[in-house]
């Protein structure tokens, strides 16, 4: 009888980390050991934003097949504009500004969910439609102008405690909290149940609607928080600030080992995928590839990783 080959089995979500590490090494080899630290800290800083948006997107994707939030970029921009307008570059208004941003995100998530359930729209359409509405709000708030953040926010975004960046650490704590929420909280358990089978969850006493509403609201809130912090990091809110996060928020979730079919989520894997994305951009830039080649290689690498990674058995 054939025994299973004694082979080290690597979980799919670790591939992001492995490839990210390889790229970090490649970049360092190319441009010298001195750049290793700065390459990593840049990847961690940008990665933190991708992870925050991605974590919200993960909750929505895990809540059931077909669920996705395409309004993420527009919510980021809207929340950033609303909070920048409220803070008006004043340090003392930072707390109200943050709260306003989070509220904008939560309301946007609720509106997304409402359109999905009340009007029975597919999530992809409902969230896309709302994103146009949010964009128009943003435009009316600030027009084309870039709104500047208060100093304290810019300071926080790059704050280091004993050489360690504070923000990525804060986001790592968020990831840790999310892992506990998914495994040990009633919401987490019910979310994964609803994601696997809506009917079975309903008959097992799960309020499927309420759970999904929470997922969409948390996703909106996470996008809003990212918009808020990103304006501090990049020096202001801009209309197109969220654009790259539309595909990236979905890609980091899927590459991170979360099932698109729903019912299964992996917050830790998002970090691997986010680092992979950011380190790859750095690496290709260091190698002085043109934009066209960069995109081509990015696409090819994503396909390769997904193809090579052993997939969890579907239902």
């Amino acid at each position: 009888m054939s025994l299973a080959h004694p082979r080290v089995v690597i979980a799919p979500w670790t591939y992001g980390f492995i490839v990210a590490l390889a790229m970090w090494i490649a970049t360092t080899v190319y441009s010298g050991l001195g750049s290793a630290g700065s390459t990593l800290s840049a990847a961690l800083a940008f990665g933190a934003f991708s992870v925050t948006v991605g974590t919200g997107q993960m909750l929505v994707i895990a809540s059931g097949p077909g669920n996705i939030d395409l309004s993420v970029p527009s919510v980021m921009a809207l929340a950033a504009y609303v909070s920048m307008t409220i803070m008006h570059e004043s340090n003392s208004m930072t707390a109200p500004g943050l709260l306003a941003a989070l509220a904008v995100g939560a309301v946007a998530g609720a509106l997304n969910f409402l359109a999905i359930t009340a009007l029975r729209l597919p999530p992809i359409i409902a969230t896309l439609a709302w994103s146009f509405v949010f964009q128009s709000f943003t435009f009316n708030f600030g027009g084309e102008a870039t709104l500047k953040p208060p100093e304290i926010l810019s300071w926080f975004a790059v704050w280091r405690v004993g050489g360690v960046q504070a923000m990525p650490v804060a986001v790592m704590i968020l990831t840790l909290v999310m892992m506990i929420v998914l495994r040990r909280s009633v919401f987490g358990r019910q979310l994964l149940a609803a994601g696997q089978s809506e009917r079975a969850a309903d008959l097992a006493g799960v309020e499927v609607g309420r759970v999904r509403l929470t997922a969409y609201m948390l996703c909106g809130t996470a996008a809003a928080l990212t918009g808020f912090l990103l304006s501090g990091f990049t020096g202001g809110a801009a209309l197109n600030m969220g654009d790259t996060y539309l595909m990236e928020s979905i890609a980091v979730v899927v590459l991170g080992g979360t099932s698109v079919a729903g019912g299964q989520a992996n917050p830790l894997g998002i970090w691997g995928a986010a680092l992979f994305f950011n380190l790859m951009a750095t690496m290709l830039n260091t190698f002085h590839f043109e934009a066209g080649v960069r995109f081509l290689l990015t696409g090819v690498l994503i396909i390769l990783i997904v193809a090579i990674a052993p997939r969890a058995r579907g239902s």
Binding site: A4, R184, L192, R199, A200, L203, A204, S315
Partner: protein, 499 residues
Amino acid sequence: MSAPTVVAPTVPALEPSPAFLDVRDVHKNYGAVHALRGVNFRIGPGEVVGLVGHNGAGKSTLMNVLAGTVQRSSGTFNLEAVDVTAWSPDRAQDYGLRCVFQELSLCANLDLAENTRIIHRPLRGPGWRKRAGAVILQTLDEIFPNHGVPVGVRVGDLPIGVRQMVEIARAFSVTDTSVRCVILDEPTSALGHEAAEQLLAYIRSAAERGIACILITHRLDEILAVCDRVVVMVDGQIVAERDAKRLSRAALVALMGSIEAPRERTIREDEPASRGPLVVDSPGRGAGDLSIEAALGEIIGFAGLEGHGQRERLRALYSTGRKRSAHGLAPPVAYVAGDRGSEGVFALWSVADNLTIRSVKALRRRGLISSKAERRLAQAWSDRLNVKTPSIDTPILSLSGGNQQKVLFARALASDAKVIFLDDPMRGVDVGTKQEVYQLIRSEAAKGRCFVWYTTELEELTNCERLYVFREGRAAVQLMGRQIEPSRILESSFGGGSD
């Protein structure tokens, strides 16, 4: 490792005609699990063989090996005395071997004609849809006269009983190759009484035309009524083969290794005062519809023919009960689904996670679910229901159907629910398990829980103290105590009752 030719140990005394299918010393391993351990099985043309055994005895695995959907690990496979090495569903189809699966194999998004086309290659070219519709309709008419199945409807929109009828009819439908042998896995579990009778009669007439049938069912009366030969499986092996004519039900149960417990019914019609407070109280919906009442400590049944509104009423009672208990107006409720594949199990989860999902709120300690309390609850109820699983961390899908169903039962019983709705939950569950669960339901009721139980099996209804017999969407008749007997229930189902 290729097994040397094994001398067939026991050959049945009489071999009347050359076998259509003859397999010897078949093994099937799933990792360390031995699902089949040296099975010898043969069936001749026109023979009807019953296959019985407990859940997890290997019946479905054997069927899948015969149908080509699962590859055997070792053993020989003879089809009409020709040795077959590579066997697949496609080749099985070419040789006229068809299968009716317990988990239905129709495509839910296609209509009947399209589903028929899938297995019949000749149905192509202009007008295939019409011809496919005619083929399936003709077979449906032959097996289930007066079935009334609409041909143009998507399978997903049909009730499960009708889907089962279509699945059966498709297996018997003929275009270019004739049907030689049909394997039926629990074909009657989703059928109403009348359709089940029609199917059994059809199997007999098909046998006279030379079509062999392998019938897997837990309804032993059906086996005894229709089969020529009965094969009993225990733990992946065939332990007995008997002539069905000379076999009694009790003897058959004994062969399966479980003694059918004599039914100890408590008829409580004389002491209505012992009932607890009313927990289900739903007025009828218009003329001829009885209001449904159930009290704590009671087991009430929903009877009647399949698809006469029992399930819909059960769902409605459940969702009302849930809303009322959320507002603190009624005790908590739970629901045990019968369609475990799509409404019961969470496929990605372990036994423990599946068992505790209904109770997660109660398992919180300082805001988070306590792993310790959760595991204790899962272990206790998994033991109590005697779930056959290596551990509570085993993925639920690697359990046999009956054991998955036990986990769903455990999910409801382990919860704080006082009122438990049972939606025909014993479909395809073996006799021994059924008796265990009946016992448990009775003892839980005695402890003050209330069960509202919809079932299509007449025998099962005798566990209830009070029945509502449904007819055309209405609770038409109420039967109590000594009135609960199969003939009376049938009479009421068909509208002959006088109450």
